[in-house]
Subunit: 199 residues, 2 copies
């Protein structure tokens, strides 16, 4: 099999990400978002919001690559709701690592290694680029929930403390975006888009 | 209005690209593709296929940016089928330019200029990066048509000569990808996925 054939096989395989449905609802409230269009939205957010990254010298090109590929493992593993605390959450790492093994290895070996390294970097969340990428990945569904009057939050009875706890990592990657997120979470709670925390 | 508010307004506005439906059918034949997931697919193709670009020194980062934003104008202008030769095709440039004016100008002025320059570069197709980006934009629907047994081609009665004529620009940006495209177009014609040309 020559390089181009391997590359085309990968390009064909990843068409399946367009069928991986998320909990997030589009802002016009018409339907659930899929992971391919989600990844595109994060890439645009990276281009537009990079000045708010916690570290000045963030390499936007690497952030773009990370957000574009970060969800490919969901072709095998499915999307796991970020507030899930059940068995799906417990097995997430294992399922996604198996997906990474299979999907990236459709590529020629050098490219498979590069893609896997980018995915590992995203998962570890240690570098400025991966922390910024993860901040965007958390901010986007908060924004969608806010603008759909909490459609996904209400469906699952999510509480304000859960949203604050789960998304605080935004601060690591982009403190200004965490301030923005906190403000809309507060407003969402006041408007009744979130379930009550036990007082 | 501060910068972040303008940026968020843009990020909210572009959610609409997920609702712009194309003629291309997903490879599993389940539904039509939208322009957001199409743009994501092109970005992955740029990452994987850049070694096949006509010019060795192609700046992949700029290719990524171009393919990520090239269809935003469709939020206002809608998608125009690439084989359309009617009034939609005649007014395409005008409608899309008006879309570019409105949508990019939601951003802070410096970012609006950067995005507009990238879109203009893509449209003019003069640089190595824009020629490669356009080659990917043409190759992707050919691949989808080939794998769906010509679903979109057959719906519109598209002929082999039209497909060859319309997509020959792939050669300008990526000669090896044009060889590949010609081979699958030839096979598609033999399998009856394309209408007959008058002999």
């Amino acid at each position: 099999v020559n390089r181009l054939s391997q590359q085309i096989r990968f390009i064909v395989e990843i068409d399946k990400l367009k069928q991986v449905v998320r909990q997030t609802i589009l802002m016009d409230r018409s339907r659930a978002e899929n992971s391919a269009e989600h990844s595109w939205h994060l890439a645009l957010m990276a281009l537009v919001l990079s000045e708010h990254a916690a570290f000045r010298q963030v390499d936007v090109g690497r952030v773009l690559k990370m957000v574009l590929i970060h969800d490919l493992v969901e072709i095998d593993a499915g999307d796991t709701f970020c507030y899930d605390e059940g068995p799906a959450s417990a097995s997430k790492t294992e399922r996604e690592t198996a997906g990474a093994e299979r999907i990236f290895n459709l590529l020629p070996e050098d490219q498979a290694k590069t893609f896997r390294a980018l995915w590992d970097e995203f998962e570890k969340a240690e570098t400025p680029e991966s922390r910024f990428a993860r901040a965007l990945d958390r901010l986007q569904p908060v924004l969608h929930n806010y603008l759909t009057k909490g459609m996904a939050w209400r469906k699952h009875g999510i509480r304000k403390s859960q949203v604050l706890g789960r998304n605080q990592v935004i601060e690591d990657g982009a403190p200004a975006l965490w301030s923005f997120a906190k403000a809309i979470i507060e407003e969402a709670a006041q408007k009744g888009y979130l379930a009550s925390d036990p007082s």
